[in-house]
């Protein structure tokens, strides 16, 4: 599928930036098809028709609109979202994206990032659907904060390590918390574990 055409939508208010990025992608060795959307609202309508593989979005457009962004993402679960960064940006907001490119990246790197990302699509775990963690993720989290390793969690739940890792990724994405200690507090707060269970 290396030569498969990859449909890319660029949601970027600046015409100069759009033209520059589109040119870089069109001149790369990969087969990208580029669509320009003026705003995130425009994507709402376009998404139904086009089935984009990748959407490149300037995260400033969705700042403080996380909910709306999640709605957009749900329009097509398979679409991958890439943040186009003019400068460094809030890491938390970036966790909502599948990848990011920077305005001062080398042209070849940009093309490579997008190509690699689109290859991933077929083997991606279930995309994160909602903000709440699922029952299975809760099981993983409970074992995790009690100090079990990926291998132990996999054995206990009779799932593969790969699946454990993908659950863990989803947990991080949904809660915004990476550290074990932070996740423990989250689990307590959401009654997933109780204080007496800790260190069981």
């Amino acid at each position: 599928m290396g030569s498969r055409q990859i449909n890319i939508a660029i949601i970027e208010p600046s015409h100069i930036v759009y033209e520059g990025l589109a040119n870089i992608l069109l001149r790369s060795k990969y087969h990208f098809r580029i669509f320009r959307l003026e705003s995130a609202e425009e994507y709402e309508f376009a998404a139904l028709k086009n089935g984009f593989d990748v959407v490149i979005l300037n995260p400033q457009l969705i700042q403080n609109l996380t909910k709306y962004f999640n709605q957009l993402r749900r329009l097509n679960e398979k679409t991958l979202w890439v943040a186009l960064l003019y400068s460094f940006f809030d890491k938390e907001l970036l966790t909502l994206f599948n990848a990011s490119i920077r305005i001062n990246d080398e042209p070849d790197d940009v093309a490579e990032t997008l190509h690699r990302l689109s290859l991933q699509n077929d083997s991606l775990p279930e995309p994160v659907a909602g903000e709440h963690i699922t029952e299975r993720e809760t099981d993983v989290l409970r074992l995790l904060v009690n100090g079990h390793s990926n291998k132990e969690i996999a054995d206990k739940l009779s799932i593969s390590i790969h699946t454990v890792i993908s659950h863990r990724k989803n947990i991080i994405q949904k809660t915004g918390i990476r550290s074990q200690a932070g996740l423990t507090i989250y689990a307590l707060s959401n009654k997933i574990i109780s204080l007496d269970h800790l260190g069981e």
């Binding site: 400033q60 700042q63 003019y86 400068s87 460094f88 890491k91 938390e92 001062n104 809660t175 915004g176 918390i177 990476r178 550290s179 200690a181 932070g182 423990t184 507090i185 989250y186 307590l188 707060s189 959401n190 204080l195």
Partner: protein, 238 residues
């Protein structure tokens, strides 16, 4: 502090206007050791008066305004001591000002909120602070003296020692992600029913710390370390 669109800073711009636009720039001045009022001085004037390289000042100031240029800056080896001084001053700000402040808010919140989580968050922060302190100690006691040694007259001897700037980079742990955890816990996950004022102050404080910390890491990783690696190369050649 939280506006998105800010001026790209150039030498001829008057600094006062920039502070109105992005007050965190006051911290930049402080960390450069500039305590005088800026009056109507331009960026260039401030640099001259304080003996700071304009290139360094502009690139740091622009980081505060959200612009990160990865190329086109020509730093000199002679800029290194002032960069280290800047970083050292930021360390003092983290240690002596920011952490005690956050600690205080957490303690007050613990007193007004009975929930067990707030005590856990306090402990989380304490452990995190130990990690940060270790890192700052390492930089101040090992990395910075090594780098300053390189810039001294007999730098060649230091360059052949077992330490190197790459090691510094390896040691550079990602201490920012725990701050993100804290923000997420406080904003999204842990219900605190009492004392919203202290909660807000705590969050503001965390957000300011995170902002300055991010820039601090960027300076170390993308400006200081590459510059020191070049210096090591040139000393080893000579």
């Amino acid at each position: 502090m939280y506006r998105n669109i800010r001026t790209f800073i150039r030498p001829e711009i008057k600094f006062a206007g920039l502070i109105f636009e992005n007050p965190v720039l006051l911290l930049l001045l402080e960390h450069f050791g500039i305590i005088d009022e800026v009056h109507d001085k331009t960026v260039s004037g401030i640099c001259k008066e304080n003996g700071i390289s304009e290139t360094v000042f502009l690139s740091f100031a622009n980081l505060y305004n959200g612009f990160h240029q990865t190329s086109g800056n020509s730093y000199q080896f002679s800029d290194i001591p002032s960069i280290i001084r800047f970083l050292g001053n930021s360390h003092a700000y983290f240690r002596n000002e920011k952490y005690p402040e956050i600690y205080r808010y957490l303690k007050q919140l613990g007193e007004t909120n009975p929930e067990a989580e707030i005590k856990l968050i306090s402990r989380f922060f304490d452990e995190y602070f130990v990690e940060v302190t270790d890192h700052l100690d390492y930089e101040e006691n090992i990395a910075f003296p090594y780098i300053l040694g390189l810039t001294a007259e007999d730098g060649g001897a230091v360059a052949n020692s077992s330490f190197s700037a790459r090691e510094f980079l390896d040691h550079h742990t990602d201490i920012e992600s725990k701050l993100t955890d804290l923000k997420n816990l406080l904003i999204r996950h842990v219900p605190l029913k009492h004392d919203p004022v202290n909660r807000r102050k705590l969050l503001f404080s965390l957000i300011e710390l995170e902002f300055v910390m991010n820039i601090h890491s960027l300076i170390e990783e993308s400006i200081l370390v590459p510059l020191v690696i070049d210096l090591e190369k040139s000393l080893n050649r000579g």
